[in-house]
């Protein structure tokens, strides 16, 4: 997953919405673990569109 650090507001919304608990918010940095299934849920629901699939826009 790709995080646009200029857009991300570190709200943790994607963390709590992730169906497999694969995201961790470490201060101002989002970390994705290998559990991520690239389901795209976080991309869809981010209030400021700060997330995208790697290689896609």
């Amino acid at each position: 997953m790709k995080v646009d650090v200029d857009k991300c507001l570190h709200c943790g919304g994607c963390v709590g919405s992730c169906p497999v608990n694969a995201i961790f918010l470490n201060d101002f940095v989002l970390e994705f673990s290998s559990k991520c299934t690239k389901c795209g849920r976080c991309v869809k629901i981010c209030p400021v569109h700060a997330l995208s699939m790697e290689g896609r826009r």
């Binding site: 943790g12 919304g13 963390v15 608990n21």
Partner: protein, 396 residues
């Protein structure tokens, strides 16, 4: 590795965590309250509106230090501009104060400290520790250092992120219709009524959610939006909120001084908010009013219940799921019906088109509601639009 030992470790120093820590400490339990961030109550992730009635119930004395503005009423606005306004004599339980959350949260943490809880800042839980299958504490990172906190039970008060519960084996995953994605600006120099909280509803305004204006005095207001996650695909909260502010003349000369995002669950709460040696409170337990998105009072209540139940459990030295079940009963007895009713109402509201919402607001503005709250509004809807409340009319 540095190891701390205590009776109860509370993860997260929001209102739920601080209340839990306070009541555990008051009950004589050695309690550690950890907070991931560098400051309790900041950065903000909240619209800051609360009602007044519940404060007494949880033993919180209203303090001007954290009350930013006192509301006298509420306005509900439909897409075509129909308004339902309730004046002071009719003001009710869904409006009340607009808080300074950064001060409110610190006041509750102070109460926890005063009761004897130890607070560790910039300490984030990274996992739970199990021994022979039993939860015996948490792993954490404190000021960059890996530590362990050994405890008899964990209170998961980690908010919407709700990771602690999931590490402990409690499924807190939400369906997309039960998530609202939110964005809020702190607007200044806005030409708004300083004494009314405003709720704008309608599919063209905030799909599946609502857009709020909560005044903080001096032309300052929290102006924010929640959009049902199911209806999001490309930063909808920002698009809808920016559009509303650009088109509303009250914000013509207004500027933002803060932007905050966040998400809120809109389900009726977890199926079970306890497990062996773990209790989930507040947002972490998904115990939030599904229609208003208000969760501070729920967090304070559940935090208090958790502290009281853990104190009882300590007397027998039993923190098993079975021993913690009185907590489950307490929050359900107090809130379950209302949570379920408001969840159903939210589901139905999300299905209504703008025209129907115009009709609905027109209709309630012609009714004689003495006190504005979700229950009274639903009663009017039940009378005039029975179809909207079909399936949960028994709860109204």
């Amino acid at each position: 590795m540095k190891t701390y030992k205590c009776d109860i470790v509370v993860v997260g120093a929001g209102p739920g965590g601080s209340m839990a820590a306070k009541f555990c400490a008051k009950g004589g339990l050695s309690t550690i309250l950890i907070e991931k961030k560098a400051e309790i109550g900041a950065p903000l992730r909240c619209a800051e509106g609360v009602s007044k009635k519940w404060l007494e119930e949880v033993g919180i004395e209203p303090d001007p230090a954290w009350i930013c503005a006192d509301m006298v009423g509420a306005v509900i606005r439909s897409p075509s501009g129909y308004e339902f306004k309730l004046d002071e004599s009719h003001a009710g339980s869904e409006v009340g104060y607009v808080l300074e959350r950064h001060l409110f949260d610190k006041a509750l943490a102070r109460d926890a400290a005063e009761a004897g809880a130890k607070i560790m800042m910039r300490t984030s839980c990274t996992d739970i520790i199990r021994e022979n299958g039993k939860i015996v504490g948490i792993k954490a990172k404190s000021m960059g250092e890996e530590i362990e906190i050994r405890a008899k039970a964990i209170v998961a008060a980690d908010g919407y992120e709700s990771q602690v519960g999931r590490w402990a084996g409690i499924d807190t995953t939400l369906e997309m219709n039960n998530i609202d994605s939110c964005l809020q600006y702190r607007m200044v120099n806005a030409d708004i009524d300083p004494e009314y909280c405003e709720f704008n509803i309608g599919t063209s305004i905030a799909p599946g959610g609502y857009l709020w204006i909560f005044p903080k005095g001096n032309g300052v207001a929290n102006v924010g939006i929640g959009v049902m996650a199911k209806l999001c695909k490309d930063a909808e909260p920002k698009k809808y909120l920016d559009k509303f502010i650009a088109e509303d003349p009250r914000f013509k000369n207004s500027q933002p001084v803060e932007v905050v995002a966040g998400m809120v669950s809109t389900c009726p709460g977890l199926d079970c908010a306890v497990g062996d040696n773990v209790i989930l409170v507040g947002d972490a337990a998904r115990i939030i009013d599904p229609i208003t998105g208000g969760g501070i009072c729920h967090a304070c209540r559940t935090g208090m219940y958790a502290g009281l139940v853990l104190t009882e459990c300590a007397k027998k030295g039993d923190f098993s799921k079975k021993a913690l079940m009185p907590y489950e009963k307490m929050w359900r007895d107090r809130m379950e019906d209302k949570l379920y009713r408001n969840w159903m109402a939210k589901e139905r509201l999300a299905e209504l088109d703008d025209k129907t919402i115009d009709e609905l607001v027109k209709l309630i503005s012609g009714s004689d509601i003495k006190e504005v709250n979700v229950y009274n509004l639903l009663k009017v809807v039940k009378e005039r639009f029975p179809k909207v409340v079909e399936g949960f009319e028994d709860l109204i």
